[in-house]
Structures are given as structure tokens and as C-alpha cells.
């Protein structure tokens, strides 16, 4: 049995949630402290499959003093954030860039593409 304390992000209330669970056993999850269904769902997601969209920048190889913004097209597992952030330092693109262009497919084997989020002429 593990216990985790979370702050719900569903609204400005920021309910203090407590989750008791045995890792790997979905039925064991017991959430307290939530005041609406969003809180319950958030708590369960956070202890079973927490995900985040990662945003950052990569170098533009043919421009000086300019980087271009990127994001993971979909949320990726939270424990891959650091690996993805490190990967961004290694890669670059050439201008012009266009929103939605894939900068790197399947970044760090997440199954999610890294896409450009800014047009640079």
C-alpha cells in the first residue's frame, strides 16, 4: 500500500487529494478529499498513467540567435519528460518552418511525434 498527496488541477479550489493504492492494482485505489468527479478522475490518472504535453525549443541551424518552439503532439508519460527535454538539445531544423511540421517522429519511443509550433520565414 502506498499513499500519495496530490493537489487537484481541475479548478482554482485545488482540493487536497489523498490516494491510497497498491501499484499495479487498479481496484485497490482509494481517493479521499475530492469534491467533484473531476478530482476523482484526476487522482486515478495521476497514480495509474500520469501524462504531460512537453513544450520546448530546438535550434534553427541556418539562423543565428534563433530557436523554434516545439511540442509533443500528444501528452507523453510523465517519466519521459526528462529524456524528451534532453533530446531537444540534440536536434535542429532548418528555416523556414511551419506549424505542424514533424521535427522528430516517435520521440524517445513514446509513439508521439515532436511537432513545430511556430512559423519562421
Amino acid at each position: 500500500m502506498q499513499t500519495r498527496n496530490l493537489t487537484c488541477i481541475g479548478c482554482p479550489m485545488g482540493c487536497a487529494l489523498t490516494v491510497e493504492y497498491t501499484p499495479g492494482d487498479k481496484d485497490s485505489i482509494k481517493v479521499t478529499g475530492y469534491t467533484c468527479q473531476r478530482g476523482l478522475k484526476y487522482a486515478i490518472d495521476e497514480v495509474t498513467n500520469p501524462t504531460r504535453t512537453v513544450t520546448g525549443t530546438i535550434r534553427v541551424s541556418n539562423r543565428k540567435n534563433l530557436v523554434v518552439s516545439v511540442k509533443t503532439k500528444d501528452p507523453i508519460p510523465k517519466d519521459k519528460i526528462d529524456a524528451v527535454a534532453e533530446k531537444l538539445k540534440e536536434i535542429s531544423v532548418k528555416a523556414p518552418t511551419k506549424i505542424g511540421d514533424v521535427a522528430l517522429s516517435n520521440i524517445e519511443n513514446t509513439g508521439v511525434d515532436l511537432v513545430i509550433t511556430k512559423n519562421i520565414d
Binding site: C8, T53, N65, T117, N119
Partner: protein, 420 residues
């Protein structure tokens, strides 16, 4: 040069105002923008979470801006870039300056003020200590990192827990810096819960509430800052000092509407928001001059900026097309009751009311289970329960024209927060 509608600023507010003015039938619109590209501050806000209300999806800042820039381009709306407005007269003559044109004037029939806001600088904070390199406003650091790809420092303390500060705590961490702490003077954070969790908790960055910077050390470059707890009167408590070694201090201590142009031209400003006092049509004290977005009052979400700006664009178009009733002297003032810091608008003219009136406002404290109450004269005409109201979030009430006109003699609408 002459134009029907001049829009000062090409950020989210200016773009939305221009599009709506054009769509309402005024094709002769010009946007004046001092930067070399449109989109304003959104260009450096590369995190996601923009546009949930407008587009029902989470976009990054540049993506959100591009949706509006595309619409401006489709309509061939004239944009003068790298053009800074240096003066506007009360007769709506704009003096601007650019490399290409030098100094020139534009006579406008209507003007939409959409200059946005800027960050409260160190000089306005009275922070003691040395003045070494390494002290930046959070937005300046954001520009260095997200546009130019330069790191302002490696060991960072952040003062102020507004959203930009929180976002930069995560951003600097992902770029390899160590963020030692975020200090917040108030006993609560002004940032969104989501940002506290995803920018601080996710990375184990401590948020120190009721804490401020009482000293900055370092002759050439910051070497440390000293934090201390504060009491209810915001005074540092002796014995709670904590010295943190770092090379960088980021300041995220509030935003101020940028209204030098407005005050030069004689627009009445609100001492609370720092923005113009506007009526139901977002029209300022000068006929035909409208204001919207962060230059009017600092917003929490860009979606609301776009919405407000598009209303301002529509009113400006109606003014130019002669479809707007001339302003009468008879006004109903909107006053701030318990817990309400300000309202936008500050007054309405009954003969210019549309079917629905949106009043936007902010509260001055955190209220749990409050009721937002609207009074017309002595009579309560609306009462709405909320789970929470917090200073970091904009609130609004929507009133029906019929409800406001119901009492002929009423001279005042009051918004108040009531708790049991």
C-alpha cells in the same frame, strides 16, 4: 495618411479587434505594431494551454497567435510593423515612427487601444541589496530562452508566483538550470493551480508562501539572495532569514497595463487597474477611442482577451459606420461592493445597452463558497453561488438589458461578494 480605424498594438487584442472591425464592414483598418512580427507576447509563450475556450483545444502561444494572424492576412488588413506610436492627440491624430517612413501621422476616425501590459520591474519593488547582473523579469528571461535560445543563468531563485514565474521555473529546469525556490509575498499564489502542480510540484521546486527577498548579494553577478518570512503586515520576521546561493533572480511580481499613450491623450484611467475607464461599449472617456485586452485590465486567459477585443472592434466599427447612439450624459455607474477590486466597464448608458451586458471583475482575496451578488439600486437582481473566487482568476457576470431597464430611476449597479 488617413484611416477609418487605427489599432495600436498587434498582439492578441489588436488582432481580434481588427478582424471583427473588418467583418462588421469597415475595410479600412490599420494595425500599428512596434515589433517585427504580429502576435505580441504570445510568440514567447511556447507552453500549451491557450485556446481551450476559443478553439476547444490546447494550443501553444505561437499557434494561438497564428490562427488570428492568418485571419488578418486573409482579409488583407494593413499592418505597419516595426512602427512605434509615440503620440496620440485627443483629436485622434496618431504620430508614429518607423525606419522606412520616419515620423509620420495618421488621422483616424476611431482608435482601438491594444498595447498590452508590461512587467513590474525591480525598481518598482524596492528590493534591497546590490544591483549586479543576473536579475531579470521573468518575461525577459522567457524571451532569451524561448526566442533567442540563450540561458540567463543556471542557479535560479524566482520572486513572485504569478503564472509567468511558474512557467519559467519549469522552462529553466527543462533547459538544465536548478531552480532553488519560488518565493511569494502573499499567503497564496496568484498563479493557476495547474501551473503550481505541473511547473513546481512535478519538478520538486519548493513554493515558499509569505516569503520575500530581503537581500541580494554579488558585485558583478548575483551570488546569493536572502529570503525571509513576512508577517500579516508583510514585514520580514527576524530569525527566518534563509540565504540561497544562486546566479540569477527572476521577478514575476505582477503586470501593469501600458497606458502612457492613453494618459498623454487625456483618457481617464482607473487607479485600480491602471487601464482606461470604459463604458458598456468599451469606449473610453474620449469619443471614438476604445480599449481592450491587457491594456484595459490584466486578463488571466488570452481567450478572454480575444473575446473582449472582438467586442471593442465591433463597437469601433459601429461608431465609424454611424450606427452607434451618441453618448448621453445619463449613466448608470457600476460600483464595487465587498470583495470586488474593480469592474470593466465602470458605467453603462441605458440607451446603448445591448441584450446582454458582460461585466468583468476581479476579487481581492480568496473566498470559499461565496455568492456573487448584483444589486440595481437596493434590489438584488442576480445571485450566483461559486465554489471559490480567487484574485488570480477573472470573474464575470452577465446581465440582461431588461433587468437593468426594469428600474427607471436606478443610478447604480453594484457587484459584491457575500459569504455566510
Amino acid at each position: 495618411m488617413k484611416t477609418k480605424i487605427a489599432i495600436i498594438g498587434g498582439g492578441p487584442a489588436g488582432l481580434a479587434a481588427a478582424i471583427e472591425a473588418y467583418d462588421k464592414g469597415v475595410k479600412d483598418v490599420v494595425i500599428l505594431e512596434r515589433d517585427s512580427l504580429l502576435g505580441g507576447i504570445l510568440n514567447q509563450c511556447i507552453h500549451n494551454g491557450f485556446g481551450l475556450h476559443t478553439f476547444k483545444e490546447e494550443l501553444t502561444g505561437p499557434e494561438y497567435a497564428q490562427r488570428f494572424i492568418d485571419k488578418v492576412k486573409e482579409r488583407n488588413i494593413q499592418c505597419l510593423l516595426e512602427t512605434i506610436v509615440i503620440d496620440i492627440s485627443d483629436k485622434k491624430v496618431i504620430t508614429a515612427m518607423s525606419k522606412e517612413r520616419g515620423i509620420f501621422t495618421i488621422e483616424a476616425e476611431a482608435i482601438v487601444l491594444a498595447m498590452g501590459c508590461r512587467e513590474r520591474p525591480r525598481g518598482a519593488l524596492n528590493t534591497p541589496g546590490y544591483r549586479p547582473a543576473g536579475i531579470y523579469s521573468a518575461g525577459t528571461a522567457q524571451r532569451y530562452v524561448n526566442i533567442e535560445g540563450k540561458m540567463p543563468g543556471h542557479k535560479v531563485v524566482i520572486l513572485g508566483s504569478g503564472d509567468i514565474g511558474l512557467i519559467m521555473a519549469r522552462r529553466m529546469t527543462l533547459e538544465g538550470a536548478k531552480v532553488e525556490a519560488v518565493a511569494e509575498l502573499m499567503p497564496y499564489s496568484g498563479g493557476l493551480k495547474r501551473n503550481i502542480v505541473q511547473c513546481l510540484d512535478d519538478f520538486g521546486i519548493p513554493l515558499k508562501l509569505s516569503t520575500t527577498v530581503i537581500d541580494i548579494d554579488g558585485k558583478d553577478r548575483v551570488t546569493s539572495v536572502t529570503l525571509a518570512k513576512v508577517d500579516e503586515k508583510m514585514q520580514p520576521i527576524p530569525g527566518t532569514e534563509e540565504k540561497i546561493e544562486c546566479d540569477t533572480l527572476l521577478l514575476s511580481c505582477g503586470l501593469l497595463p501600458e497606458n502612457e499613450l492613453s494618459s498623454q491623450m487625456g483618457v481617464d484611467l482607473s487607479p485600480v487597474t491602471g487601464g482606461a475607464k470604459v463604458d458598456e461599449s468599451l469606449e473610453t472617456s474620449i469619443d471614438g477611442v476604445f480599449a481592450c485586452g491587457n491594456v484595459l485590465h490584466v486578463h488571466d486567459l488570452v481567450d478572454y482577451v480575444s473575446k473582449e477585443a472582438s467586442e471593442a472592434g465591433r463597437h469601433a466599427a459601429e461608431y465609424v459606420l454611424g450606427n452607434k447612439t451618441k453618448r448621453s450624459e445619463e449613466v448608470v455607474n457600476i460600483s464595487t461592493g465587498n470583495g470586488v477590486r474593480y469592474t470593466v466597464p465602470v458605467c453603462v448608458r441605458k440607451d446603448r445597452l445591448e441584450d446582454l451586458l458582460t461585466i468583468r471583475f476581479r476579487v481581492g482575496n480568496v473566498y470559499k463558497n461565496p455568492e456573487i451578488c448584483v444589486y440595481l439600486g437596493d434590489k438584488c437582481i442576480q445571485r450566483r453561488k461559486k465554489q471559490i473566487c480567487a484574485p488570480g482568476e477573472m470573474e464575470q457576470v452577465i446581465l440582461k438589458k431588461a433587468d437593468i431597464l426594469a428600474d427607471d430611476g436606478a443610478k447604480e449597479i453594484k457587484i459584491a461578494i457575500e459569504t455566510n
